[in-house]
């Protein structure tokens, strides 16, 4: 439990440390990057589906 709360504290400190990004991205860039991530994860999801189908 102590280790878990230590981890949470560590994550909070990291988020605070890097709260101000050095490279300012425009809103469009952020949307495109997020969209790319979601798209790629969708493709990975399809591959995992195919993997499961192949095993069956």
């Amino acid at each position: 439990m102590k280790m878990f709360s230590g981890l949470i504290t560590g994550v909070r400190m990291i988020n605070q440390k890097y709260s101000k990004p050095q490279i300012e991205m425009t809103l469009l860039t952020k949307i495109c990057l997020f969209g790319l991530r979601v798209y790629l994860f969708t493709l990975v999801g399809l591959m995992i589906y195919k993997f499961i189908e192949t095993i069956k």
Binding site: I23, L33, L36, R37, L40, M47, Y49, I55
Partner: protein, 423 residues
């Protein structure tokens, strides 16, 4: 007399540059040769057995592709003195940083499993049970990382890189047709049967085994841990170029062996290929098994370090191989945890290990554009990179690589939903 003096002076200058290069060389060679990991050996084996020499041209194209991607990490590491994970957090903030870090952890864990699959399969050929191989590997890797410093680790890793070249003499031993090799290496064409789902899957797997997210994180962290400076960048580039040459050479020679000995033979893995080769070519079969174990081991020691470095950078732990265990406990703890988690999966009864190996390569390819986009953005930031920013040619090349991978991944995704589209 003046001519002799000039010749002697040039010789001293060149030899000094060569000695400098030998001192700097390491990260590029190791990351590229480790790129031919157990998953890579399996992918090339299946490629050679299924399509003979017909895809050699594709492998040769992947060499420069790997160079252009990895060379960026040399510049970024030498200029920023930060590992890739820390560089993303610093430049883009914690949201994108966590995304990238979790991406890395996921793909690294999957790839680590494939390394243990390769090592256990290779040792099984010699009658060694998987659990002994896994425990033995844990001990070897643990000893390697906890004794000595970065330089020690690097030199041992380079020895394993040398062993990885074992497929080169094997290819000469099978006496392949040189004219066939030359034709298939330099004339892009589709193999007999045309463009099918199977071909597509293997092309994706080949891309995924040549450029992987862990390589970006690994090479940048080694550049930092080794202490490379901006003045060392040109040697780092040569190191990377030489490494990419080696990775292509090993892949090509391995495909030549399989294309010559196993064409048309149904083969699902490198271990299966070794078993089929052994009865008629005992020496080549043994070289195959040694090469497969070496590939898995080399991949495992690099990938686990990539993750440990990344976590250490982000969480602010001491995270250098130059630190002893007491000085960097979390760094080493994560390293051993990673090894343990991957090894345990391999011991699950009836796990579809071969299928996992190939699918992991494809998944790694699919997630690669996300890592590459951040790398390109970082390399274009004037404040971060100064005079070492990407040139127009580098941007066009790398953006082209990102675009090509996205297109390939999309088409593969489409083929998953509509399986008859490419048949």
């Amino acid at each position: 007399m003046y001519f002799l003096y000039k010749l002697f002076h040039q010789f001293r200058k060149t030899s000094k540059a060569f000695r400098m290069f030998l001192a700097i060389a390491g990260p590029g060679i190791i990351v590229m040769v480790a790129d031919n990991d157990a998953g890579g050996i399996t992918t090339y084996t299946v490629t050679g057995a299924k399509y003979g020499f017909h895809l050699l041209w594709f492998l040769i194209i992947l060499g420069p592709v790997a160079y252009f991607v990895q060379e960026m990490t040399v510049r970024l590491g030498a200029v920023t003195k930060r590992g890739h994970a820390e560089a993303i957090f610093h430049a883009f903030g914690s949201f994108w940083g966590w995304f990238s870090l979790l991406d890395l952890v996921f793909t690294d864990w999957l790839t680590m499993i494939t390394e243990f699959i390769g090592m256990t399969a290779a040792m099984s050929i010699f009658g060694i049970p998987p659990w002994i191989t896994i425990i033995g590997c844990w001990l070897m890797m643990g000893t390697m990382i906890t004794t000595g410093r970065y330089w020690t680790w690097e030199k041992i890793a380079l020895i394993f890189c040398l062993v990885n070249l074992i497929y080169i003499p094997a290819a000469f031993m099978v006496h392949p047709s040189v004219s066939d090799i030359i034709y298939n290496s330099f004339i892009p064409h589709l193999p007999p049967g045309g463009f099918t789902n199977d071909l597509f899957f293997l092309l994706m797997a080949n891309v995924g085994t040549t450029i992987a997210p862990w390589m970006i994180f690994f090479q940048q962290s080694t550049v930092v841990d080794k202490g490379l400076k901006e003045k060392d960048i040109r040697f780092g580039k040569v190191d990377t170029a030489f490494g990419s040459f080696l990775t292509v050479i090993v892949a090509v020679f391995l495909i030549i062996v399989c294309g010559k000995l196993l064409l048309g033979v149904p083969v699902e893995s490198a271990a299966e290929a070794t078993i089929k080769i052994m009865p008629t070519n005992n020496y080549i079969g043994t070289m195959f098994a040694i090469g497969l174990f070496d590939a898995g081991f080399l991949g495992a020691i690099c990938i686990s370090l990539a993750s440990s470095w990344a976590f250490g950078e982000v969480f602010g732990w001491a995270h250098s191989l130059n630190n002893k265990i007491k000085e960097a406990p979390w760094f080493y703890a994560y390293y051993f945890f990673d090894l343990l988690l991957a090894g345990v999966v391999v011991m699950i009864p009836k796990a579809p290990l071969v299928l996992i190996t190939l699918f992991v390569q494809v998944i790694a390819t699919t997630l690669l554009p996300a890592a590459l986009v951040f790398l390109i953005l970082l390399l274009n930031d004037k404040k971060t990179m100064g005079n070492y920013r990407n040139t127009l040619f580098e941007n066009v090349t790398n953006i082209g690589i990102v675009f090509a991978i996205i297109v390939m991944s999309t088409l593969y995704g489409v083929s998953t939903i509509f399986p008859h589209l490419f048949q």
